[in-house]
């Protein structure tokens, strides 16, 4: 049997990817471009919403010009960028988790990853309050990686693994981490700070407060570069080993990316539930399960989903805001339920 060394940089392109006809490639590409334009439109709309009036006329008018530009540069542009970055990276993180766990219903929110990240943040706040944000995020990433590894370990121990039991285990594990976090937060009067961390909320995003999210973007780019490995890993351990790749290594790499992305997002804006679940599932219906092809879609639609949730949250009760985490919780769980029952009908 011919073998490649596990860390060979050149990966064999999966057979079905090369065999795909050229004609069908151009249509998805056009569609992707169109989706990108829609997301750009949403981002533009997101720039114009807020208490302080920033219209295109105001930007051009000489009298109001300076104030409008200021609002735009300090608050609106960072906010929109943060939304786009967080949405992209969380959705891609969800996709990676689904391939590694080989389960459609897993994402950072349904695997205890996000909750263990906030436990990590709390621990840092208690033990070393003076640490810079980057170090805090690193600790949170370590916690979320440990939490996710624990999740995978428990999964291995559960007999008769049904696809549906996996997210239940993750959600309950998340609840356990959450209880531990709340326990300590309560003892040290940090409950309010905890609320602020755990609800995905972009209202406090300003220039200088969101830049860490670019790190999440870089990680997403890395995920794209090594996308084929995740596609292969998604076909199972035996298949991966057969191709001469190290399955544990791919899992470790994927986990590291997911944990770091989650930690960065939780540390800067809080949790946004269900994005990593809803977006990859919808995309998989459109373009299939080849990670190389679906990651751009997942990223674009993830950004669109978060932008949309944020716009809804900002418009419904102006001048107040509903946090994006709450809106995403409502929309995401509805879509999730729909996915669940559609699937059940197909099976039954």
């Amino acid at each position: 049997m011919p073998t490649r060394s596990p860390d060979s940089p050149l990966l064999p392109e999966p057979a079905f990817a090369t065999r795909a006809p050229e004609v069908s490639l151009s249509l998805p590409l056009l569609l992707l471009g169109f989706a990108g334009l829609v997301v750009l439109g949403l981002a533009g709309a997101s720039l114009l919403i807020g208490v302080s009036q920033v219209s295109w006329e105001a930007l051009l008018a000489p009298t109001e010009h300076q104030r409008a530009v200021q609002v735009l540069v300090i608050s609106r542009v960072p906010r929109t960028l943060a939304l786009v970055l967080a949405g992209m990276s969380l959705a891609v993180a969800g996709l990676i988790m689904q391939m590694l766990a080989r389960n459609r219903f897993v994402e950072p929110f349904t695997a205890g990853t996000a909750e263990s990240a906030s436990l990590g943040l709390l621990v840092v706040t208690l033990l070393a309050p003076g640490l810079p944000i980057l170090a805090r995020t690193a600790v949170a990433a370590g916690f979320s990686m440990a939490g996710t590894a624990l999740f995978l370990l428990i999964l291995k121990r559960i007999p008769m693994r049904s696809a549906l039991i996996v997210p239940v285990v993750g959600l309950v594990l998340g609840a356990i981490f959450d209880a531990a976090t709340t326990f300590f937060a309560y003892r040290f009067s940090l409950l309010q700070s905890l609320m602020a961390w755990t609800t995905g909320d972009f209202s406090s995003v300003l220039r200088g407060r969101y830049e860490l999210l670019w790190g999440a973007f870089v990680l997403t780019a890395v995920a794209y570069v090594v996308a084929d490995r995740f596609t292969v890993a998604g076909m199972g351990e035996a298949f991966t080993t057969n191709l001469g790749l190290s399955h544990p290594r791919i899992v470790a790499l994927g986990l590291a990316i997911v944990a770091m992305v989650t930690a960065v997002v939780v540390a800067t804006v809080g949790m946004i539930p269900f994005i990593g679940l809803v977006v990859p599932n919808v995309v998989s219906v459109i373009v299939g399960d080849n990670a190389r092809r679906s990651i751009p879609w997942v990223a674009v639609m993830g950004a669109g989903f978060v932008l949309l949730c944020d716009i809804v949250g900002r418009v419904v009760r102006q001048p107040y805001e509903i946090p994006v985490g709450t809106v995403a919780g409502v929309v995401g769980s509805l879509v999730f339920l729909h996915l669940l029952f559609r699937r059940d009908d197909r099976v039954g």
């Binding site: 239940v168 356990i176 959450d178 509903i322």
Partner: protein
């Protein structure tokens, strides 16, 4: 006859021990550190104990009955989203009726309306989920996601209500163990007693339900009617416990499974009292430890959530979900 009495002796002896332990908890809770001011301390603590008894009873009984109905040791009303639905109903009523109208309404009337809606929901859930022959895994996941949905929806609505007004009413909505509202306590007691009478007449049928749906029907149980009634009882009890202390996701799971393990009997005459006693011991004992040892430095609900979650995962790992 004597042989069956001998076999029965076992669960009953255990029940007796649990009862003694519960009485001990009540006794210690009522008297410890009273400082001589009996005429103040006793009535004050009695109200607390009454709340705990009521809540423990409601959670334990509703969980055991629900597990009998669903023929399963992992599903509980709380995991299926009942508790969070109750919160959503409260918030929804507040949102649609407006705080002024609601503040003018009688707590008792409001409570009755909410319980009615809960019973309606349990009927819908029954039709839609349990009769469709869906897999337990799907039910479980649906319940968990419904919980997330209900919670997100209530916090969505809460954001739409002016913050000050909401705070004002939240105090009224959630009496804690420490500050039970006498009116609410009275209505809850009446509701619980009423539901218990309905449940008591179905106790034998419950034992038969344990044998599985088909066997139960074969033995002459009107399965559909019995299950609908039991679910209505469950809905009332969940409303009572949530109204009094808020949602506690895993406590029912904890006591129901401990009770099954402790009495080693499938008869509801044994399991139900054991679960109730365990709930009372857990709540009162836990509260005692928190008040006296940690001097209120922790929240009982959080600890229960932690332990219950661990138990849930252990149950799954042991393959309890068939």
């Amino acid at each position: 006859m004597s042989a069956s009495a001998l076999r029965l002796e076992h669960p009953e002896r255990r029940l007796f021990l649990l009862g003694a332990l519960a009485v001990l908890c009540v006794g210690v809770f009522m008297t410890v550190d009273a400082g001589g001011q009996w005429d103040f301390v006793l009535p004050f603590r009695a109200r607390k104990v009454a709340t705990v008894l009521l809540v423990g009873y409601a959670i334990a009984v509703s969980t055991v009955l629900f597990q009998t109905v669903t023929e399963n040791r992992v599903l509980t009303p709380a995991i299926m989203g009942f508790d969070t639905l109750y919160l959503l109903l409260q918030t929804g009523l507040l949102f649609f009726l407006g705080t002024r109208t609601l503040a003018g309404l009688d707590v008792r009337l409001l409570f009755a309306v909410e319980v009615g809606l809960m019973v309606l929901f349990s009927a819908v859930l029954h039709r839609w989920l349990f009769e469709g022959g869906r897999s337990v895994h799907l039910l479980l996941l649906t319940g968990v996601v419904l919980g997330v949905l209900f919670r997100s929806l209530s916090s969505f609505l809460q954001r739409l209500i002016a913050p000050g007004e909401f705070d004002f009413l939240q105090d009224r909505f959630f009496a804690s163990f420490n500050n039970p509202d006498p009116d609410l306590l009275l209505v809850s007691t009446v509701m619980t007693v009423g539901a218990s009478f309905v449940g008591l007449r179905l106790l034998r049928a419950c034992d038969v339900l344990n044998l599985g749906r088909d066997v139960a029907i074969n033995l002459g149980v009107d399965h559909r009617r019995t299950v609908s009634r039991l679910l209505a009882v469950v809905a009332v009890l969940v409303s009572v416990s949530t109204a009094l202390v808020g949602p506690v996701t895993f406590f029912g799971l904890l006591v129901a499974n401990l009770a099954h393990g402790l009495v080693r009997s499938h008869r509801h005459v044994h399991v139900l009292p054991a679960a109730v006693l365990l709930a009372v011991i857990g709540l009162l004992g836990g509260q005692l430890v928190l008040e006296r040892v940690f001097s209120f430095g922790a929240n009982l609900r959080v600890i229960i959530e932690f332990l219950g979650g661990l138990m849930f995962i252990t149950l799954l790992m042991r393959g309890a979900l068939r």
